[in-house]
């Protein structure tokens, strides 16, 4: 009889901070303590609160231990599991009240979240199909195969209002309907797991934490459109996800939940994995298809749309991981349940990867319609070090920067577009007063310039020219005409590029031009970077009144740019200074500043 469960987060964040080792240590310590038969250790998917990783949760108490180190394992085993005493110093502070543990659901981080796509993440062992089944796994597939016609399935998905979570927000049911309406024959279901936005890891977490829900949803999609084969296109840089998918596929086949004659209904469906080699553009659905076909990952013109002519020229649906993660839950709980969450045109929930200048870096899933302020200030725990919020970037390199004035806008597809950004796949990067918005725009543009496939002229040459203009501005050589040129290039590229990558690449620039034009102008007119980021516009100066002449800065300067006698004020030679900031870090008297 197992009396306690230790859930060790096996998501990538915790994994990279050593959760794998914790798992082994728990096993060892439990054996040593003779508790091996009554306490079970389980490696789960992501809990979401990655900032506090590695995370270990002990049930039945629900003790949420954060930032657990190897040396803490023994204490948890002996104190908590052997003696029944909580290890308070490791408990997430918000869950402690007197001597009891508060439910995680009542913490700021989790209170406003609604886990649908992430339902099983952090709950089950993703490498064990039985745990998935115990949580109603494959019930949706069984229901679909035994109680519903393909048309019923499509109707249900249409009625749910589910829209694609990969960025575009196209109604999933419509996509399925198009493919279903194509003449019978070879058709394909593709899962787009080529998550590429910098900082985004929603899909990764689902694949790592709940791989079976993707397989199940793909089989349901196959049934709905009349396809018997699917591909999961996943980044090779996601080794844990790939490994768990492979295990899941093997287990599902073994259990007769993939393959021929599934659940004795005569329905056949199988899945194979294709690894992406790391090109961002392969997340664009037609480029993804080319890549699966073994071709260069260049986008194709649309129309024809993949639902009509997709993989190997056959009708194909391509759904993002998070989209698929919603499918089984919609089938099980009904379209009405799903549609009861969210806003008028954006139903359900959305997972965001919160990052940047935010206390609770991690993965959050919120009902559509939650405001940006709630996400950032409540769930995200606000901005560290009391700094002032400046902007939040959504949608990754295809999205835009949203200023404080729009923080109370309810998050949904249409609202984000209206304010110059997009939902995207769910990256959400918070910026504070120390971020230079011109520099941020440049950062995202560098990314898209690097990741452009090079097929169409506007994207290949156009965004490169935009980047050159931004480099000119941030190095103090910008002129006012450059801003006009930049803006007109933005619109040209949006209107004329072949695929979504090019069509959205100007968004970070356009949105910052729209909301932070003053910062651009400061760079151009005053040759000044207000946030103090753009190195070429910075000068480091030592305040002679504060400087004690301790020489520490001069000794730390890697460029020998600081001179001065002992106990006399030092001086920085800006011609030699490389603006690394080592002097500021070393000064004990706050005598050095940059401007």
């Amino acid at each position: 009889m197992v009396r306690s469960h230790i859930l060790v987060c096996g998501g990538t964040g915790c994994h990279s901070s050593g959760s794998d080792k914790l798992y082994d240590l728990f096993e060892d310590e439990l054996k040593a303590a003779g508790l091996h038969d009554e306490v079970k250790v389980i490696k789960t998917g992501c809990f979401g609160l990655c900032a506090l990783g590695p995370v270990v949760v002990v049930y039945p108490e629900g003790a949420f231990y954060s930032q657990v180190k190897s040396e803490d394992v023994k204490e948890i085993v002996t104190e908590h599991l052997l003696k029944g005493r909580l290890v308070k110093r490791l408990l997430y502070t918000e869950t402690i009240a007197e001597d009891t543990i508060l439910s995680l659901d009542n913490t700021d981080f989790y209170r406003k979240q609604k886990r649908v796509a992430l339902q099983n993440c952090g709950v089950i062992d993703p490498e064990n199909i039985n745990e998935y089944i115990a949580y109603d796994g494959y019930m949706a597939l069984a229901k679909v195969l035994t109680e519903m016609t393909p048309q019923d399935v499509i109707k249900e998905i249409l009625a749910s209002g589910l829209r694609g979570r990969g960025g575009g927000g196209f109604p999933t049911g419509k996509k399925w309907e198009f493919a279903a309406n194509q003449p019978a024959g070879d058709k394909y279901v593709c899962c787009n797991a080529d998550e590429g936005d910098p900082g985004a890891f929603m899909d990764r977490s689902v694949l790592e934490g709940d791989p079976h829900c993707i397989l199940e949803a793909m089989a349901i999609a196959g049934y709905a459109i009349g396809s018997s084969f699917g591909y999961i296109y996943v980044r090779a840089e996601y080794p844990i996800a790939v490994k768990r998918l492979r295990i899941a596929i093997a287990q599902a086949r073994e259990a007769g939940l993939l393959g021929e004659n599934i659940l004795n209904t005569g329905f056949n469906f199988d899945v194979d994995i294709r690894l992406g080699a790391g090109a961002f553009v392969c997340g664009e659905e037609t480029a993804l298809l080319n890549s699966i076909e073994g071709k260069r990952g260049d986008p194709r013109p649309r129309p024809p749309f993949p639902a009509v002519k997709g993989l190997f020229g056959k009708p194909t649906i391509i759904n993002n991981v998070e989209t698929l993660a919603n499918i089984t839950r919609i089938i099980r709980n009904g379209a009405d349940w799903f549609a009861s969450m969210g806003t008028e045109k954006s139903k359900g929930t959305k997972v965001f990867a919160l990052g940047g200048k935010i206390n609770h870096t991690g993965l959050v899933e919120i009902p559509m319609g939650t405001t940006l302020r709630e996400i950032i200030e409540e769930i995200g725990g606000g901005i560290p070090d009391g700094k002032k919020f400046k902007a939040v970037q959504t949608g990754g390199p295809s999205g835009g920067c949203i200023p404080a004035q729009h923080l109370d806008i309810p998050v949904d597809y249409d609202n984000l577009i209206a304010i110059g950004s997009i939902m995207g796949s769910g990256g959400m990067i918070v910026m504070d007063e120390d971020n230079c918005m011109v520099d941020i725009a440049k950062f995202f543009l560098e990314f898209t310039v690097d990741e452009s496939c090079g097929k169409c002229t506007p994207c290949r040459v156009g965004i490169r020219r935009m980047l050159e203009i931004l480099e000119k501005i941030t190095s103090g050589n910008g002129e006012m005409e450059d801003l006009d040129k930049l803006e007109s290039l933005c619109y040209f590229i949006k209107d004329n590029s072949l695929c979504g990558l090019g069509q959205t690449a100007p968004n970070p620039v356009l949105s910052t031009l729209r909301y932070f034009r003053d910062e651009y102008e400061a760079h151009v007119i005053d040759k000044r970077c207000p946030a103090g980021v753009c190195k070429k516009l910075l000068n480091y100066t030592i305040d002679p009144d504060k400087c004690k002449g301790c020489t520490l800065c001069a000794r730390n300067c890697p460029a020998n740019a600081i001179a001065g006698e002992v106990k006399k004020p030092h001086v920085i030679d800006n011609a030699k200074c490389i603006k690394c900031g080592a002097c500021i870090d070393s000064c004990k008297f706050a005598a050095i500043y940059k401007r």
Partner: protein, 585 residues
């Protein structure tokens, strides 16, 4: 099933076109030309260059007309301010990454990019100048030069290399701003299995690809008093050279071409047609021998050096099937430097043999080590039609108004059978004319074999010649050749004789022919119009069978003895070597 018609409006004008038509094609129906750069009909429909952008009512973006299918009730605007501005910016962006040496560029005047820049008033061509994509000039190949600093990445070259010629030795390397065209791992062109056909050059809209210009070598030879500079012109040149001087496609300019060559200073203006006749006589003899003595069948023609390269690299198992006859270009050179040199009493080393060819692979062919007699190369320089046009221009000849002159004797005398060598099916028909008469012994045997004519991909015919049933096939374009070879390989087809020309449509559409912009190539069947000029010349000629050529009769009587003789083999026949598919070796 009847095709459904779709009604739409283009610039306010109603148009009705079949479903599935693109906006570009529909606009053409309405006599509106939408500019393109990457689009090659049926070959490269990828929507990459973004020149053909148009407004579609209801769509916030502009859309690429070349790939966008029409829809019922669609309203398209091709000429709004927004469209013009977009095209102009697009051109400016292309120019910002283009080595602009337009004054002296080989494509100045025929450059599609240049024309569009003029049409769209791109005066400020440097407005977006910035870093340029790192590029190199690949001069490794014998026949051509790739200068990526002028490449606009339209991918027309890679499309023809893959889809028409099945070689796919060039493709897209790297990505984003570093994207460039090259061979795998950026290997030089001479180290991959390029067949030298030059179809990429005629597809290129700019000066990024061009033949290796050898006109200076010819000018130097012409100026050398020690050299007797002899020129031969391939059958198809007369049907295409006029295009370089603004004459309509399909104008036969044989007389003016001869006049021009004479004025350029060539000592003898001869005709490759003569050696085409010679090829037929030798090849027909070889075919009859193979059939009678159980030689390797099907026998496959060897006139097209692009095809020979393809066979060596991609289908070496068919090398025994290749006719051992040298190509007409090489036979001509060999004859000029042996029989003719002897007749003149000139040292063959002092004969400088220039050939005017429709073909870039001929530049490679004449450098092949096995194409020489006694250490003297049969042909010294093979110029393309384009290079000849350049020489004529530089010499200031008023080509269009030159008088019509005739080839010199003796090596300028030929038959109609040789003239049609320039079009796909021509070699087959010429061979059949001779074989039919030889096998039946009847001089009244048929002259015209129309089943093998035309621009079809693969043409087949069965002829009863005497007691013999002859299965023949004719194909052009290496993708089609592959299909024929595969059908022979898997036993599906049983031919006696196959004619293969590397370039689609044969030599009239060769990689060395005058350039026509995509706007023409997409809408006019160049192959057909140019071939027509050759067939009409043939039909008007008194002699139409190669073996009736009086000069050949004399050469055989006094020099070669008989077709397939030891002497003929020594001078007129050759051999080929299997090569790697993945390297140039």
């Amino acid at each position: 099933m009847e095709t459904k018609m779709v009604n739409l409006k283009i610039n306010g004008m109603s148009v009705s076109v079949p479903q599935g038509t693109t906006i570009l094609q529909a606009a053409r129906e309405a006599h509106i030309d939408i500019p393109t750069l990457c689009y090659l009909k049926d070959i490269n429909e990828i929507g990459a260059c973004r020149m053909c952008m148009v407004e579609i009512k209801g769509s916030p973006k502009l859309n690429a007309a070349c790939v966008f299918p029409v829809g019922e009730g669609m309203e398209v605007i091709t000429n709004s301010k927004k469209v013009f501005e977009a095209r102009k910016v697009n051109l400016q962006l292309l120019l910002s990454n283009h080595r602009r040496e337009c004054l002296s560029c080989v494509r100045s005047g025929s450059c599609e990019l240049q024309k569009l820049c003029k049409d769209y008033g791109v005066e400020d061509e440097a407005v977006f100048d910035g870093a340029k994509t790192p590029s190199t000039i690949d001069e490794s190949a014998t026949h051509m030069v790739r200068d990526n600093s002028k490449c606009i990445l339209c991918r027309r070259c890679t499309a023809v290399c893959d889809k028409l010629q099945d070689a796919a030795v060039i493709g897209v390397n790297k990505r984003g701003f570093n994207t460039h065209i090259g061979s795998a791992f950026d290997a030089p062109l001479n180290s991959v299995a390029c067949v030298s056909c030059g179809q990429c050059i005629v597809a290129c809209p700019t000066g990024a690809l061009h033949e290796k210009d050898q006109t200076d070598e010819v000018w130097a030879a012409l100026a050398d008093p020690e050299k007797r500079v002899i020129v031969q012109t391939a059958p198809s040149i007369r049907a295409t050279l006029g295009e370089a001087f603004g004459l309509p496609i399909g104008t036969n300019v044989e007389g003016k071409m001869v006049a021009a060559l004479r004025r350029l200073g060539f000592a003898d203006v001869f005709d490759t047609d003569l050696s085409a006749d010679l090829t037929i006589v030798e090849e027909a003899n070889e075919l009859v021998e193979r059939i009678q003595n159980g030689g390797a069948l099907p026998m496959i023609t060897s006139c097209s050096p692009g095809w020979i390269n393809y066979c060596e690299h991609y289908y070496p198992e068919f090398i025994p099937n290749l006719s051992s006859c040298k190509s007409p270009q090489q036979m001509f050179g060999a004859l000029a430097k042996s029989w003719y040199a002897q007749k003149l009493g000139v040292d063959p080393k002092n004969i400088f043999m220039v050939s005017i060819m429709p073909c870039t692979a001929k530049k490679y062919e004449c450098k092949r080590p096995e194409q020489s007699v006694n250490g003297v190369a049969d042909v010294d320089v093979a110029l393309t039609t384009r290079e000849l046009a350049r020489m004529i221009e530089r010499a200031g000849l008023d080509f269009v108004n030159l008088p019509d002159e005739t080839f010199d004797a003796p090596l300028g005398i030929s038959t109609g059978a040789a003239v049609i060598f320039g079009a796909t099916g021509g070699v087959m028909e010429a061979a059949l004319r001779t074989a039919a008469e030889w096998i039946t012994g009847d001089p009244a045997a048929p002259v015209e074999f129309c089943d093998v004519r035309g621009t079809g991909a693969i043409k087949e015919a069965t002829y009863k010649v005497g007691d013999l049933t002859l299965n023949v096939a004719v194909t052009s374009g290496l993708k089609n050749a592959k299909e024929v070879l595969e059908s022979v390989k898997n036993g599906e087809k049983n031919y006696h004789f196959i004619e293969v020309m590397a370039c689609p449509g044969g030599c009239v559409n060769g990689g060395g022919q005058p350039l026509q912009p995509a706007s023409i190539r997409n809408n006019v069947d160049l192959k057909k119009l140019r071939a027509k000029a050759l067939y009409s010349q043939d039909s008007g000629m008194p002699l139409r069978k190669s073996h009736d050529n009086p000069v050949l009769k004399e050469i055989y009587a006094n020099y070669l003895e008989k077709p397939g003789s030891h002497k003929a083999h020594e001078i007129l026949h050759t051999h080929y070597t299997p090569k790697s598919r993945f390297t140039g070796e």
